[in-house]
Homo-oligomer: 619 residues x 2
């Protein structure tokens, strides 16, 4: 762990003073706020003092500068340290730091969010910052081709998250020389010692085995840190600086003591600590700036030519996803990712046409979503696909992406019991509930190829988390090429003014509703059929019309468990209505098994006969 | 990769014949079904032939035998091979295999489920079988203290899942000498080559770095496999047999060919392959049986003495969770796990009282849930806890646990904006939606310590996935010790026959509803207050009464996003009602920030003033 001395004495003194300022500020702001994680900040103060003074190439007054390095606090709870940095570089005032940290309305939140223009993504759910960094680094190395570097400060506790190893694996696989993880190995987690404590050698062997270059360093030796970051920047592949540190470093009362995670120092203790650290300083750091980026050479965007389908032809919506995504490839900012199932999700159609903008994430759905988030940080428009069922693997990443206010498109294929013989493990039956509950999300579920392609095109411009649910099997094309399918809209497929009942479906159940309407017509029952392809936002006006015209007789049919899906969306939308509404809600109420699509839909009570019976009961 | 020859020629011939039979049966049943994964079965046939003939100690006619080894197909898509094994050991007939595989009503589903008594857990979402195996092995080594061995057959594609590394890390940490992962490194995933293809050396280094003993072997060399399994059984820690195999092995037309994942052979091709493999065989395997397990010495169960709380005292429900869990420790089958936040979830109270039955899973929520599933396979009653927000990390595991029909209790603490200054990354605001949508789940959200403790006690007997949501802050005890809180029930806290409006809350919002009812009383509006502590199942009768008595005027208030939570539960329950119901639904509609609990609840419109206004608007 001995490194050559690269720092002159004066430089070392300056860095030491800066580190002391960062510590003092982290202590002060958390004590003032009455909550926060000062000790987790103290351990990494020396690392960050060296980074921002000598390695991070960042134009602080112009955070959107394309040439800027990226700094991600994967250990988001060390926000006092991050905010102390922002004061040291002159973009956050002492007043803002001291008076607003963790207060209502402040951009200095308990864990970092992009409310701050220097923060790319929200962190605070451990093991996510580094995987997002992989996405940013992919953009830099393969798309932007700019020399910026991505630095992710990780905690040692989060090294127990599998997502960290998915990230390092992909960093190695893609040879991301522009990515450095800095692991603050301070030995103590929230409730006591971490699993590996200071076993740096095990960390080193793991990192190496996952294809990254480990650099073990004393995280309080400024010269050694400086040398390590130099090495990292010049490396030919991804690097991981494994820094042995002391939690609470600089405040002897709490150094290396358990029981001090997530606790501010008491005011008197804080005052003593600040004094011992030399008091409040007003150091202003002028770290390196990036070289100006060459002007952006954006290839001319051709308006996408969406695929055309013959009405009545049998086409799977997952195929339409692939066709439309390939068409969107004419927009140079569209990129696609897949979790090693692109021949099923049909993202392969894009991959074949645009191999340079397609990223294979193999079977690691957390990294799949994280990479998408990273790519959109750099201005790209990522479409990430896997089976609907397996997006559940990345649910925490999707949740956090929403807090990051990331704009990403997700496609979940093979949704519902419709998939048939593969059985319940492959069926997405809770995806509508889960994705609807994501803040600010959009949830789309087209019934045919034409509407699917149109919606895929709209996804490219939509803000937030946009989820598209596609179907495995082939179903007839219902709409004319060129029809409009605005997000938030719906389609009236059957019926007029004097309908007895309205059948509301989305995706595969729209076809069952149409067949049921035909059967009901034989019985003299006139059924309106509505395609609710936009599950969130939902077309409330269309529902109000249906309530008015049918006397409040609605059948909702979904290939999804009964909780939180299309039925709930309809009910939530009509909750405040004064007039009576009776909803007969058909959904998958038991645990499905293998079978054919038709058998399983019938068994679940979402097939044609069940819809007819439900409508009859209301009419 | 050269191993000593341990097999006599005759034994090798028998094993070769058995492997051929397994291949033939895997081909036949998938071709007959018209779907399935024969090539992924062929690669592992030699491994499994040796395992079941000479290593797996299993009493096939008595699958609940406590001494049995466990065999988990983590690569669940190789179900044709598993079912071919079941035929070979004599518990599934040729007729059942050939006529029912993947058919409606069959227990031989597309991916294995516990519909078969020899299957511990459902697999098919990759990277889950091994983590569950860790839980089973924990039970064997630390609780049962029985010499059974856990064998998990993994695919190479799933080695890209972070959860595999969480599992190996925990296997190493806990020194699970009774666990062996067998990795079928057949080089080809679904859509092409895997990330590491046949780079066995990288796998070896990764496994070693994660604390497990790698054994690299030619997966088609019967003697070498035999030797490897001998080593694995005798090892002093967890082992990983890394078997280099050929996908489609035994059928030259498809061997090592891409494009054959998840595809049955066409009938003529299958017939030729079966002939080339020697045709249909009727081999009956008699593998080793386990030594009889010693009689179970169950310590006498003392009825738990639930904690008592003084009415009006300020107690956080998360503390009540810890108190009640510690009380449940008197039942010897109750075990607890936590994701390195037990001082927050208060699972530490159990950990301190019963360290032998407490498993620290560190920051790896996927493994946390998987270990719980494994422990319940062995008959234990696991309670696993982390922050509500971070259970989202394990959502796919919870989804699969439901398909496994596992009985596990989950506790999510720090739910909602109520947590205050830590900010949105730490707030569980989609957990009710996500957990309600899990098949067969129970969702509980108590408002006070007494009801929380009572519900924790009931969780121990409840089937399926049982989720308890707890609150960070302290709130007054509302109920008397000894009150009943049946799952599916609710509590009427205020009101009688002639109420103007009903206020429905759960958890923290119950307290806001009570304060709102007081304010409304000053205005002459009589508000009924209902504590819907059982979010799923919901107390429909109580809702019907409220609708009847208030003329359908309901205010629902939840500390959760508007989609899929308590409001949806109420609406779903009342969907089919003929009489008009107007629901004013208060929920967290924007992206929250940091702040105090009260500020954030007010800002979200779920505080007292918002409830009063909502009730006033209805009354």
């Amino acid at each position: 762990m001995e490194a050559e001395r690269t720092l002159r004495d004066e430089e070392a003194t300056q860095l030491g003073d800066l580190a002391a300022q960062l510590r003092v500020d982290a202590i002060r702001c958390s004590t003032k706020a009455g909550s926060g994680h000062p000790t987790s900040s103290l351990s990494a103060a020396d690392l960050m003092a060296v980074l921002i003074s000598r390695h991070l190439r960042y134009d602080w007054v112009n955070p959107p500068n394309r040439a800027n390095d990226h700094l991600i606090f994967s250990k988001g709870h060390a926000s006092p340290l991050l905010y102390a940095i922002l004061r040291a570089v002159g973009v956050v005032s002492e007043q803002e730091l001291m008076e607003t940290y963790r207060q209502l309305g402040s951009r200095l939140q308990g864990h970092p969010t992009p409310a701050l223009p220097w923060v790319d993504v929200a962190t605070g759910s451990l093991g996510q910052g580094l995987p997002v960094g992989v996405g940013i680094a992919l953009a830099g190395q393969y798309l932007d081709r700019l020399p910026f570097h991505v630095w992710a400060l990780c905690g040692d506790s989060e090294m127990a998250e599998g997502s960290i190893w998915e990230a390092l694996d992909k960093a190695g696989h893609y040879g991301l020389r522009n990515l450095t993880a800095i692991v603050d190995v301070n030995r103590l987690g929230q409730r006591g010692p971490t699993e590996l404590e200071w076993d740096l050698d095990t960390y080193r062997r793991r990192v190496e085995a996952f294809g990254c270059h480990p650099i073990v360093v004393d995280g309080h030796d400024l010269g050694a840190i400086d040398e390590a970051f130099d090495q990292a920047r010049q490396a030919t592949g991804p690097t991981v600086v494994l820094a042995r540190t002391i939690k609470g470093k600089g405040v002897p009362d709490v150094e290396n003591q358990p029981g001090w995670h997530g606790k501010p120092l008491k005011p008197d203790m804080a005052e003593r600590a600040v004094q011992a650290l030399g008091g409040v300083r007003q150091i202003r750091v002028n770290g390196p700036r990036p070289d100006p980026a060459p002007p952006v050479k954006v290839p001319a965007a051709q308006p996408p030519e969406l695929p055309q389908y013959e009405k009545g032809a049998q086409v799977a919506t997952r195929n339409a996803y692939g066709d439309a995504l390939r068409a969107l490839g004419s927009l140079p900012d569209v990129v696609a990712l897949d979790g090693e199932v692109s021949d099923s999700t049909r993202a392969d159609k894009f991959g074949e046409a645009y191999p340079d903008r397609f990223f294979e994430m193999f079977i690691s759905e957390q990294q799949l979503v994280a990479a998408a988030v990273g790519l959109q940080v750099r201005g790209y428009r990522p479409f990430a696909a896997t089976f609907a069922a397996f997006l559940s693997r990345a649910y925490d990443f999707i949740r956090m992406a929403a807090i990051s206010q990331a704009d990403i498109a997700l496609s979940g294929s093979h949704a519902g019991v419709e998939i048939g013989p593969d059985g319940p493990s492959q069926m997405g039956l809770e995806d509508l509930a889960a994705l609807r509950a994501v803040q600010g999300s959009t949830v789309l579920y087209p019934s045919d190829a034409v509407s699917c392609a149109a919606l895929v095109a709209e996804m490219a411009d939509r803000e937030g988390i946009v989820y598209l649910r596609t179907t495995r099997g082939k179903y007839p094309v219902l709409y004319d090429n060129g029809d409009d399918f605005p997000i938030g809209g719906s389609k009236l497929l059957r019926g007029g003014k004097n309908d007895d009942v309205a059948l509301l479906g989305a995706g595969v159940t729209v076809h069952n509703c149409l067949a049921a309407a035909d059967e009901l017509a034989h019985e003299g029952i006139t059924a309106r059929v509505i395609d609710l392809y936009s599950v969130k936002p939902l077309d409330r006006q269309r529902l109000l019309d249906a309530v008015r015209d049918t006397g409040g007789r609605l059948v909702v049919v979904e290939d999804h468990y009964p909780e939180g899906g299309l039925g709930s969306a309809v009910l939530e939308s009509l909750a405040d209505l004064a007039e009576p509404v009776r909803v007969n809600h058909l959904a998958v109420r038991g645990l499905p098994t293998s079978g054919t699509s038709a058998q399983l839909m019938d068994q679940a009570g979402i097939g044609v006969h069940a819809i007819v019976a439900a409508a009859r009961a209301l009419a």
